[in-house]
Subunit: 286 residues, 2 copies
Amino acid sequence: MIKQLTIIGVGLIGGSLARAAKKNNLVQRVVGVDRNIDQLKKAVELGVIDAYETDIANGVKDAEIVVVAVPLGAMESVFAAMKDHLPADAVISDVGSSKRSVVDAAKKAFGQLPPGFVPGHPIAGTEKSGVEASFAELYEQRCVIITPVETSAQWAVEKLQALWSGCGAEVSSMSAEHHDEVLAATSHLPHVLAFALVDTLGQMHESKEIFKYAAGGFRDFTRIASSDPDVWRDICLANGDALLLTLERYKQELDTLAQAIVAKDAKQVETILRRAKQIRDRHVIR
Amino acid sequence: MIKQLTIIGVGLIGGSLARAAKKNNLVQRVVGVDRNIDQLKKAVELGVIDAYETDIANGVKDAEIVVVAVPLGAMESVFAAMKDHLPADAVISDVGSSKRSVVDAAKKAFGQLPPGFVPGHPIAGTEKSGVEASFAELYEQRCVIITPVETSAQWAVEKLQALWSGCGAEVSSMSAEHHDEVLAATSHLPHVLAFALVDTLGQMHESKEIFKYAAGGFRDFTRIASSDPDVWRDICLANGDALLLTLERYKQELDTLAQAIVAKDAKQVETILRRAKQIRDRHVIR
């Protein structure tokens, strides 16, 4: 059993990990650190964490595992603040949606990476944010990708895997580069597309009417556009190169489809739509 | 009470209208016409329709209201087949997602439009298709847009409104042109974007892995890409001009966002994302 799990950033993702670790009896004590003291008090009230610290150094000094669950842009300063206060055998991980940027931030903050440093990313979430939105089942049957670096010790990898598996997740391992390519396609691009669609329609002069006639398909399609803008600004910038590459491919596909529509090429339009439906029906519905 | 409602095309949309009309005691008898006899037999078995005809002329000859619920590309031939067999006081409507094309098809088929002709479009559906997927509550609290033409008689407009209101829908009226602009933005563009995304990812060499790591956000975002490709091919072509105009605006927005990411302009990225979130939270969540 983990003696102390320290969660830095007690929102939807961090709070849900705390809840899951407690629910599954993986941990004796969860300490939360956040710059928002109201979130911390709320988290204690809700039983999400056992205690809180407002100072990162105090929060990590007795930690067996530290998980950093802050927006990507805040990672470096959080790592820097814990640097000289970590136990030598502490596991240090995170939940960031882009992994190369987290490794870079850690290198800048730590200089030499500690052996306990193992980046991670649970592929789970909702469009909500804040500790009130957290729940213990968020990671059940969800994928968690860990991206160990050269310096990551085997014991640290195993402890981190055990934590996520214990929360019901399926853990897999890959390089940070590969993670960032895959996530650009499957998560970052769709978010950008949804944000951009809602914003485009919002700028149109008949926007009020447009949203009035939005049906369930639109609601689902744009659900992710209600996600936290701070988190997603950081993801867009942190994984910008992989995201822009996928966006380029996507725009080519849109052009192909648009040209087929202009040419009234029913067969070509149908080919694309039918292929997409088959792909989705095969892969996505579970 | 309507003596006979004839539904041509007994799938998700037509079948749900039949079910809703029966459930709400709006109709004495529902007759279904479809080129797929298995669908018709299934529809009788399920109690969706009371009887079926495989011949459109026979199906419409005693109808008080005829609703055509076939893909847009089949509208003209369906109208042509009913032309000389309609009672003079029959209401003739449809459920097509594009309205100018339906008016054009009717003009070609009928020559002079009958006074009972009133196009309509229920803004409701699911990504499923077929009569098995139909349900009586599909139109409850959903918008139905009717787009009367100059020749539409008041009695026909009122009968059609009463049918949809009786099924629980909120009926509004606008021009076919305006309908097509609004629907291009709120429905046709999102469908095209979702189909294109799934197809793009499906063509990538690591596609299997990509879909493995797709989370709930991706599933919701792409749900509409499982829609019927025949229906959506026809919509893309029928409302191509309005769709392409909205797509152009959308691509400009994507370019703006991409440029901000390239320039690492955090403030500009955040502005767009935050505005989108505010718009969605204000308009879409109900």
